[in-house]
Amino acid sequence: MTETVANVENMVLARVLNKALADAMEADSKVLLLGEDIGKLGGVFRVTDKLMERFGSARVLDTPLAEAGIVGNAIGLAMAGYRPVVEIQFDGFVYPAFNQIVSQLAKYRSRTQGAFTLPVVIRIPYGGHIGAVEHHQESVEAYFAHTAGLRVVAPSHPNDAYWMLRQAIEAPDPVIFLEPKAKYWMKGEVDFSKPAAGLYASRIARPGTDVTLVGWGAMTTTLLQAAQIAESEGTSCEVIDLRGLSPVDYEPVFASVRKTGRVVVAQEAPGNVSLGSELAATITEHCFYTLQAPVLRVSGYDTPFPVAMLESLYLPDADRVLEAVDRTMHY
């Protein structure tokens, strides 16, 4: 084996995704992009900026404005040997495509006894913090993590954004790729020489000894802030960035909980029947004898996402995470 030389650049997350798409298209002529406004405009978040110019309108397809049609066409293209990467413009716009994703894309391999493997990636900018109007700030992961046949991932920083998107495009199974839109402008180092980890591997973002904080996507930043504040108050938090939401890489989570005995799971999504609920149940089943307190969840409220001017009340921030840290420490 030859030693890989690090090839590190400091880049903004949205630009990193753009490079990942371009590199994937260079690497495989069957990779093509479909979505609304992804051509000349470069997508509403500019993730596909200049890709139509570079690869042509027969590989970067501006579609009619119909999400079920976009996903349905991607399925047909995948059946015929293509690797479509679909952009859904905003999280709340994915529901018109729900049947195509849940009943068609997810189940095709099972329905055909493995005859059809559909390597479709559905990119969805998800979550809040951008002060947008309704249907533009939702966290949709639970719907898709609940569905057998789909894989769901969410990167939290630029290096993962690059490699996880490359890995998702190369993966044979359909992948729901949740982009933390609040972090599109986050700058960070990307090592283009090699991936940091597998697509679904969870990651210890900050080591600690007293409480385990589990989150994903944009929430990882909030948990790191909370951990820093907690440290100044004498509590050591270990932060786990889940990365893979289906499947979840549980072993690092269990190992951490066996060390700390206390867990807080944080998510932007409503808590009822959420991924956080699943994590709480599974951690309890596996780590019951080492838990010093119940697994606590910090979530969005079980309401529709509120108006932009009230979003800071709705979205869990470092203070709400710390409130839960206090509760678990004093249980």
């Binding site: 397809l61 501006d62 049609g69 349905g72 991607a74 049947n99 391999r109 059809f116 499947p247």
Partner: protein
Amino acid sequence: MNNTTKITEPDLNTLLSGLQGGVDPAPVRFLDVDGNWDPSDSAAPFAASLEQVGLAEMQTWYTDMVVTRAFDRECTNLQRQGQMALWVPGIGQEGCQVGFAYAANPEDYIFPAYREHTVARARGVDLVDVGKLFRGARHSGWDPKDPKNGNFHIYTLVLGAQAQHAVGYSLAQLLDAKAAAGDTLLEPGEKGTPTGRATLVFYGDGTSSQGDANEALIFAASYQTPTLFIVQNNQWAISVPVQRQSRTPIYRRALGFGIPAVQIDGNDPLAAYAVAHTFLQAARQGGGPRYIEALTYRIGAHTTSDDPTRYRDDAEISRWQAADPIKRLAGYLRSKGVGDDFFAAADAVAAAEASRVRDSLLSVQVGHPDSIFAHVYAEEHPLIEEQRAWMAAYEASFEEHGK
């Protein structure tokens, strides 16, 4: 493409101008209900497509129709005997189905809905495999990628979804052709690209109301994909008549999307063949999508769970029974000198096939329990592996206790 029939089909503007004054042209037909040669005026542009069809080929069509009908009746019997979870009869619709099936080239790809048993048979799918889905043994009984199955896709039960897949598949045919020609552009409003291959998709009058079916027309028109939409208007979406779905003849909707469309007599195999053959040539040559509404009738129930006596009267059924497509093609073949021995032989093939299907279906092995887990993902998934192992151990624990 193995033939060179010159295309003389009417273009979109001609079809639209035919509607001025709100008068629809007569549905395209070549045979009257008794099988006499009696083409409608609207059939003229499509007649050339019939020139290459010989009597022997039509005899094959006929055999496929009677075989599928016998199979269909056998499946209803099996369901009544508790051996099928459900059956979806296609009786009455064999005529257009056989015509459409033989109009397609082997390289063309076909997305059925779930009642296209005659198309399945014509493309080479073993009818036993069609039965497996409804016996509850498989989600789909055949592998569309196996060459013996004639590019005939699996059935889709959430209807309309397959229309989107068909357009995506034909978009792939278009992009393949562009890539081979070094053409990197697919611009708004551009003309179609010759592909040499096309995709057919089947759905019905009920499905024509689904969003998916309408979005599929939009994408097909936008990208000028080589797609042939085939709508079998069998008059009933379970218990709801077509008048609830549409205030205009359904084919007119496609014209509004910018897709050339015609209405045909769906119980005339020759009309189905001729129009589909002409339209498929246009689609393969870069003419973009085409649309056929076949007026036919579901003689049987929607499924074996349905009770059609609640919503339609006997007179209506009798009227359509008089227009039976098998009777019609038989009349035509007889008028061409085909004798009793052929019809007796076809009936014998049908009886033997129905019997074989019955025996085979009754002995179909249920999939291995592990097949619940085996095909969910292409790559290993820890949750699936954990539950797969757990179920195996759990089931094995009963065997141990039984000893």
